[in-house]
Symmetry: C2
């Protein structure tokens, strides 16, 4: 079996055990004589899987009975619109902290539904290389929520500590670092995350809402766009993407078997240190634009002396079995994504490769 | 390998060849060294698959260059809202023909966005057993579109011939009979269909729009809810459900290899005849509430003398390897779904089983 070491930013790598288990289950899931894809979402077997997935998600996140978990479709981009549609209104605005492309998209979508404000924007010279300091945040004490993107895949930055927002609930887009870090949920009202980085294949997006926040959601919406309507039907309002939920459950079980989010956090720190150490000790051959305390443990972004050298590195890496390391098309350079399913072993091998490449070409 | 004969209404059966091919491809898709789930949607390999799927869909449907094909998420239920959001307004209404639960849901969602009208409603004694005659349709010549559900999975009815709507474009929810029948597209402006009956697993919904209709769509919408925005990005506005699109492509290829929609239509007629013949020749043991010329070739709905007998039949069927034949929870009775992937052989075996059961218990 030919398998590469894949460091793509999303859809990301999946644990090999999960791929293998899915293969075994394909023609005959749980002795039903049919695949999970050919199983009714109203069947006992699927409903059980669905509920077990919701429970496992809450367990791993440390969420108690005050949280409602929904499995929706359309990715985080759909949540950019659905979130303000459910909570804003002509006189109900929200604060947005802009730290990259995704938070900008979320902010832009919100403006269709209410008077949103920018609480901070760290764009400098057309790009983002840092997270704002608490003192830079201009927050509205009456905001319906305060939105931020916890990890910025394109720019390689990450919030290390969540800002204190008083009684304004935090809304977090955690698409690219969910379950890779332990989180104090005290000030958090809603978390959303598309699956395709840390939770499974593309096609399902998790929305976790604190029930007291859900109770304040608008109700005069078409059912499919209403958080309340989805919650009232235990996230089975319409046919869910059953296979994608099944795959997510395999990934959640895998995280649990490895020691849960605490273990994933330790692993993420170890992996990120290995890559950033190579960058910082390369005598300027590799350059990371992000100051140390703002660096993402999920996506390390860096450049080489010139584009030709970058192309050479990518080609040599591919020949050695390392793929998915080109930077985002808007930014160029290189990017190494180190999501949960990327093994420490893969990172050790890639780090050795990068060190060797710098030595030969630096 | 244990495989049952599955007649569920959706998610429905998939061709065994497709399941097997997916299993082979799982750890290493197209020699990339990764699964399709671990492949970037911006990669050459995925973009090629995406475009080939859009082309194959159009080819099989007989759609020319005047049509745009989108692969969206959220199922047909999301289209119930997205369609009117894109085309209606305070003074722009649409006509809806109500023939069952799904057309009612579509109509209800449309009322949030403009003054929709009911052009006909065939509900009688709380249920639907027929399609309206052309003479019953009270259509508005100025309607933005006229919406109908071509096949009603719950009630087992199907439009045999589309109504003539003059210059008002028809919008068809074909979720449960797409690619099982040849269609004259002359009056059709938009077709949508969630995949999980005739096209693949749940998690992707196809929207095909005539370009001149697309040009009339509202443009002041959040990108993710705008048909125009999706079309402008070749349906790669955000991360698509890559595995689900891949599975759909396998199913489309399978339809093509079997002779296309024309062959599927012949097969659907043959399968439906076998089941309805058993019902009609059972001396009233099996009762189908739908008049012959309104009967669906996708879902045969019928009842037995009493509920206990129905339970006995379901249990005996399961023991013999036939599953998914219980009626919709809102209606009771039995339902045999005969989507494209349900083989003639399966239907022959089920027909023999039903005949035998009637003989023993009638």
């Amino acid at each position: 079996m030919h398998r590469v070491r894949y460091f793509g930013a999303g859809p990301g790598a999946l644990p090999l055990e999960v791929i293998q288990k899915a293969g075994q289950d394909l023609p005959d899931w749980r002795n039903t004589g049919a695949s999970i894809m050919e199983t009714s979402h109203r069947s006992r077997e699927y409903v059980q899987l669905h509920e077990a997935s919701r429970s496992m998600f809450k367990h791993l996140m440390g969420m108690d009975e005050n949280w409602e978990v929904l499995f929706l479709q359309g990715g985080a981009t759909t949540q950019f619109a659905m979130l303000p549609m459910n909570f804003l209104g002509p006189y109900k605005g929200a604060d947005y902290v802009l730290t990259g492309a995704w938070s900008n998209k979320a902010f832009n979508a919100s403006r269709y539904f209410g008077p949103s404000r920018i609480a901070a924007d760290t764009r400098e010279n057309e790009i983002y290389t840092r997270i704002p300091a608490m003192s830079e945040l201009d927050m509205d004490a009456d905001a319906t929520y305060c939105h931020l993107t916890t990890n910025n895949t394109i720019y390689g930055t990450q919030w290390k500590k969540l800002p204190e927002t008083g009684k304004v609930p935090l809304v977090l887009d955690m698409s690219s670092d969910i379950m890779s870090r332990q989180l104090n949920l005290d000030d958090v009202g809603l978390i959303y995350a598309s699956a395709q980085k840390n939770l499974g294949p593309a096609g399902v997006c998790v929305v976790a809402i604190r029930k007291e926040m859900l109770d304040r959601a608008n109700s005069d919406l078409p059912e499919i766009l209403s958080y309340r309507a989805h919650a009232a039907k235990s996230s089975l309002l319409n046919t869910p993407p059953t296979f994608n939920v099944y795959m997510m459950k395999l990934v959640l079980d895998w995280i649990e078997s490895r020691g849960g989010v605490k273990a994933m956090e330790r692993l993420a720190s170890a992996k990120a240190s290995l890559i950033y150490d190579i960058i910082d000790s390369s005598n300027g051959f590799y350059k990371c634009p992000v100051p140390e305390s703002h660096r993402s443990k999920m996506n390390a972004v860096f450049s080489l002396p010139d584009e030709q050298m970058e192309n050479e590195l990518v080609a040599k890496a591919k020949a050695d079995g390392f793929t998915g390391i080109r930077g985002h098309r808007s930014l160029g350079g290189l990017r190494v994504s180190m999501y949960n399913a990327v093994s420490l072993e893969s990172i050790i091998e890639l780090a050795a490769f990068l060190k060797d490449f710098a030595k030969r070409n630096g």
